[in-house]
């Protein structure tokens, strides 16, 4: 496969990511300057993992890797990277801890994985690099402990250049416009572009590029939206036969863009049909009776379409903000629930009733000492405190940490002892030769 055969081996073969590559090298060379771990994030196929491997070759690093392992629980993390992280690399060799897909360490199935990872980062003697698609899937306890470098979606010019290199090595004759088109359709994903290029075969003709389905399934939904907004007809349902998205996703595209486009007087009419469509989607979900999808689709397309009074001019379509918002706030919602459970436990109230205490506790944290008492009384974690008093949470934890450093002040440290590990030796202080 081209993706295997033409895996980049030098920095020059990684296209379109000069800035982040430079930043990574700088971060490594100055380590430890700020945080001891680095989070590289960005969409699929933009070169995150490849960059780490090229780095390894070019800088002659010793890799300790937690990658394709199935299990990512606390025990595995500790076993695979824990000791490696804590032991300093031998003279002249440099060690790097690499953890790919770090956003797939899950709370439930991978018990305590995130906690263990936090601990490893705190105690490491070597640089740690984390790779993730979505940084928001990480708890803030990890995000607060890392530096971040973002890999952007690749521009199609970068993809095209790489495709050209490959075509030359493979001896495939291909016109620039064709490579451009493949690159364009890939949606900024290098690996996908190379797969598509390969799937077109050895002789690429202009017509053949059209055989590729667009990676960017959004262009077909744009056509569908335009047909809803342009005409006033049930006919627009037909465009959606070719949209590669299920009805419960399509409805959110319409929901996002209809109110941006429609005259305010027509919005209620359109929402009536969206709401009816959603009722049919609910019936599909509860009864697994998929024929109702047909009604849902007709109502969300044709129904919305017949509601606008005059022809509408094109406006720029937005992807549904709802999913993005949900993704961003997922971790937060988990934290809120655990916070409410703790409050409920102390105040003999249900999770629902416990919500009533949050404004009170917010006021209680107005000053740091009040905040510390809240922290102690409910036995809260950093993220949970953040929900109560986002502005002062840092000060409160700093105060707790300072109190810990004063060994005499027992009452202050007691509460934090189990959360913060025992004081570690200052960096660089090798207390014994046999420590390795």
């Amino acid at each position: 496969m081209f993706n295997e055969d033409h895996r980049p081996r030098e920095f020059s073969e990684i296209h379109g990511q000069k800035k982040p590559l430079k930043d990574i090298i700088a971060w490594l060379n100055t380590w430890p300057s700020s945080n001891k771990a680095l989070l590289i994030h960005g969409p699929s196929g933009c070169g995150k993992t490849i960059s780490a491997y090229v780095l390894k070759e070019q800088m002659n690093l010793d890799f300790i890797e937690l990658n394709t392992s199935d299990v990512r629980d606390a025990e595995t993390i500790e076993r695979v990277v824990g000791n490696a992280a804590r032991s300093k690399a031998l003279f002249f060799s440099r060690k790097l801890i690499l953890i790919d897909e770090v956003d797939n360490i899950k709370g439930r199935s991978d018990q305590g994985g995130m906690k263990a990872l936090g601990k490893v980062i705190d105690e490491t003697q070597n640089p740690i690099v984390l790779i993730a698609n979505d940084p928001y899937k990480l708890p803030s306890s990890i995000r607060n402990r890392v530096d971040t470098i973002r890999f952007n979606t690749l521009r199609s010019a970068s993809i095209k250049n790489r495709l050209k290199e490959i075509s030359e090595k493979e001896g495939i004759t291909v016109a620039d416009e064709q490579l451009e088109e493949i690159a364009e359709r890939s949606g900024g994903d290098m690996r996908a572009a190379i797969n598509d290029f390969e799937s077109l075969g050895n002789t690429v003709l202009k017509a053949d590029v059209g055989m590729l389905s667009s990676r960017d399934s959004e262009s077909s939904i744009f056509e569908g939206l335009t047909s809803i907004f342009k005409q006033r007809s049930t006919k627009c349902r037909e465009i959606f036969f070719d949209v590669d998205k299920p009805p419960d996703e399509i409805i959110f595209w319409i929901d996002e863009n209809m109110p941006r486009t429609y005259h305010p007087d027509d919005i209620a009419c359109a929402y009536n049909y969206l709401s009816r469509a959603d009722v049919f989607l609910g019936r599909v979900r509860r009864r697994q009776y998929y024929r109702f999808w047909a009604y849902a689709m007709d109502l969300m397309t044709g129904g919305v379409s017949v509601c606008h009074k005059k022809d509408l001019t094109f406006s720029k379509y937005e992807p549904p903000s709802y999913f993005r918002y949900l993704g961003k706030t997922k971790a937060l919602r988990g934290v809120t629930n655990s916070l409410l459970a703790k409050i409920g436990g102390k105040t003999h109230s249900s999770i629902y009733d416990a919500r009533a205490y949050i404004p009170l506790l917010g006021l209680a944290c107005k000053d740091v000492s009040g905040g510390i008492n809240v922290l102690k009384y409910f036995d809260l974690e950093y993220e949970e405190m953040e929900v109560i008093c986002p502005k002062v949470v840092k000060d409160i934890f700093k105060a707790v940490e300072e109190a810990e450093k004063r060994p005499n002040d027992e009452s202050e440290t007691e509460a934090k002892q189990k959360r913060r590990p025992a004081p570690k030796p200052a960096r660089g202080e090798q207390t014994s030769l046999f420590q390795f």
Partner: protein, 316 residues
């Protein structure tokens, strides 16, 4: 003012005699203590009116120092299903009561259990009837199946009278060395609407802002607790700014994690407070009823709530 613990906990009565505003209920509960025996109890009433408080005080007086070993609190709506509840009850009921003839199991929000689950609960009650007494707490006694109702002595907790709230707040104020002005007291009672928990929380929050609690302070605090976003959202919708009202909806639904039912209930409550012609309000309440029904039938809460917001904007 420094936070120590919530006043609802700090001033939760340890003895039945300290419970305010419930003379008849306390009377009956004390007779159980005297006899060192009790039937199963069913406590029915809204939030914050003393159901849990009475259960805890009863257990304390019944068992003295060993009350903690003989009392178990479980919330039927939080725990995952009746099986978890039964397992917990089984574990707890297996060991002997310490210094008593029975143990007490306090099952909060029992009306969250389906009728089937309640039937299972009823069998559990029968199995452990010689070693355990149940105190079931619920909002609506009519949601409890008749076979359970008939096995329980029923206690109805209405909203607390304003006098009882005033008594308790004055006691706390004395103790905490704060001054509560008459206007402040009136404001708290109005906001609390018979809910002691809300009253105590409001006073404690106000005390963080100043030692002299007056009306202004109370409203300042309660506006923090009030769902201002709900009001903003409704107003944005009514004034025709749908996108703005949708953004507020998202923050309630997604960031704050409120359920669709929560939001529609609050919209419903706020509608009546709005500056709108009476007829319009009545009309909107009718519409909310329709959309609430769709919410139950539908798949996605957000779409249904958006449809409601769009409806609010419509003139007739």
């Amino acid at each position: 003012m420094n936070f120590e613990k919530p006043w609802t906990e700090k001033y939760r009565p340890a003895k039945l005699d300290d419970v305010v505003g419930r003379p008849f209920i306390v009377e009956r509960l004390k007779s159980y203590v005297e006899r060192k025996n009790m039937p199963h109890l069913l406590f029915a009433g809204p939030a914050g009116v003393g159901k849990t408080t009475c259960a805890l005080a009863l257990a304390r007086e019944m068992f003295g120092d060993s009350w903690h070993q003989n009392f178990q609190e479980t919330n039927a709506s939080d725990e995952r299903g009746i099986n978890v509840v039964r397992e917990r009850i089984k574990d707890f009921a297996r060991t002997m009561s310490i210094g008593g003839n029975f143990k007490i199991i306090f099952l909060d929000e029992s009306d969250a259990l389906t009728p089937d689950a309640q039937n299972a609960l009823r069998r559990t009650m029968e199995i452990y009837t010689s070693t355990c007494r149940f105190i079931l707490s619920c909002n609506y006694s009519s949601k409890i199946i008749p076979p359970i109702q008939s096995r329980c002595a029923i206690f109805r907790f209405g909203p607390l009278p304003d006098g009882a709230i005033e008594e308790k707040l004055n006691m706390i104020a004395d103790n905490e060395k704060i001054v509560i002005k008459e206007s402040g007291m009136e404001a708290i009672k109005y906001i609390a609407d018979g809910d002691m928990r809300k009253a105590e929380n409001t006073m404690q929050a106000a005390a963080f802002l100043g030692k002299d609690i007056d009306e202004d302070l109370v409203y300042q605090v309660s506006s923090r607790a009030r769902p201002e976003e709900i009001v903003d959202m409704i107003n944005a919708a009514i004034s025709g700014n749908f996108l703005a009202s949708r953004r507020l909806l998202d923050s309630l639904l997604i960031e704050k994690g409120l359920s669709g039912e929560d939001i529609i209930t609050q919209v419903h409550r706020q509608i009546l407070e709005l500056e709108l012609p009476e007829e319009r309000k009545v009309d909107l309440i009718d519409k909310i009823g329709e959309h609430e029904f769709r919410l139950v039938e539908g798949s996605n809460e957000r779409i249904q709530l958006e449809a409601l917001l769009a409806r609010l904007a419509k003139k007739q």
